[in-house]
Point group: C2
Chain length 207, copies 2
Amino acid sequence: MSPDHVPEIVVSRIPLYLRALSEMKAAQREITSSQELGDRLGFSSAQIRKDLSQFGEFGKQGTGYNVSFLIEQLQRILKVDQVWDTALVGAGDLGHAVANYGGFLHRGFRIVMVFDNAPHKIGSQAGPFTIQDTAVMEEQIRRHGIKIAMLTTPAAAAQDLAARLVNAGIEAILCYAPTSISVPDHVRVEYIDPVLHLQNMTYYLSR
Amino acid sequence: MSPDHVPEIVVSRIPLYLRALSEMKAAQREITSSQELGDRLGFSSAQIRKDLSQFGEFGKQGTGYNVSFLIEQLQRILKVDQVWDTALVGAGDLGHAVANYGGFLHRGFRIVMVFDNAPHKIGSQAGPFTIQDTAVMEEQIRRHGIKIAMLTTPAAAAQDLAARLVNAGIEAILCYAPTSISVPDHVRVEYIDPVLHLQNMTYYLSR
């Protein structure tokens, strides 16, 4: 099935399945079932089967799923059977925390450059990276063919930087700045903003 | 329309609309349109209109939306026209950062208690809060009728704590721990995990 035909809400659950399966594998599990995966994630087994069936046949009736095989398939579907080089823009406290986060590489991502526009930061370190001037950001991103950026700047700087990133070839932005950014249709944006998630849950709560 | 009948993907966009409208209001804007809101968010005006129409009629053909009015309506829909008391569980670096974050209150949330199980942390401060022992967590949450918790513990501790939180009456968990937690059907879980968002985008990228 082509990417456009799978509902976005289904696609958004596949990384959760992959994360749960990877935990099972780390615990030496070889086989699992839609029931077990569902129990672990708080979804019904029917939903797991239905979601996975959008992408193909990954298990046999009665024998369940081979954990390693299903991991490989989901990594392929999400295109994280490769490692994506990623640019980090904004080297404040949050940018430093992200630069130091050890959880990216084994899940398909590698930060390869960090930018900031503050003169006293340029040339200093953020994790293992030397912070570069945003003045050379577009050139560096283009030269390395980078498609993914993480934006950890203040809200006021986010839109202008997002436009520059898109202009340099970025096609996916993970925006930690607590503001909306507008990008062309071919570019994806996801937001890390705890309040968006909290408000999404209160909708379903009784007062 | 009852909450159950609005697709989850639509509900998940309402907090984005509210955030963008709040920024417009802060910039003294009084009237907006689905076109302008769409431009700001990178959505089509048709989608904005269709999403909002799931909840009622908020604008007049040709005159657009009153920003303050629409904010009030979306706050009511998301139930953040009230402030929700929230418990924070896990007072490591991330827990401290969340406890110190100033962006919750004006968007409907207030952390009122912080818990950890490490003896050397109990009694010390996390932001304006005195860290309490998780041994008293259930009792405190029950006594204050708290329904929302943020979980900033290591992955290994998350499932056990989630079960205890649910047992104490928690109905919504924002999970920063990079692991899946299983909860009963009446409890909502949202995850803050940058890799889930990144993998959600790579699905749509060309290699």
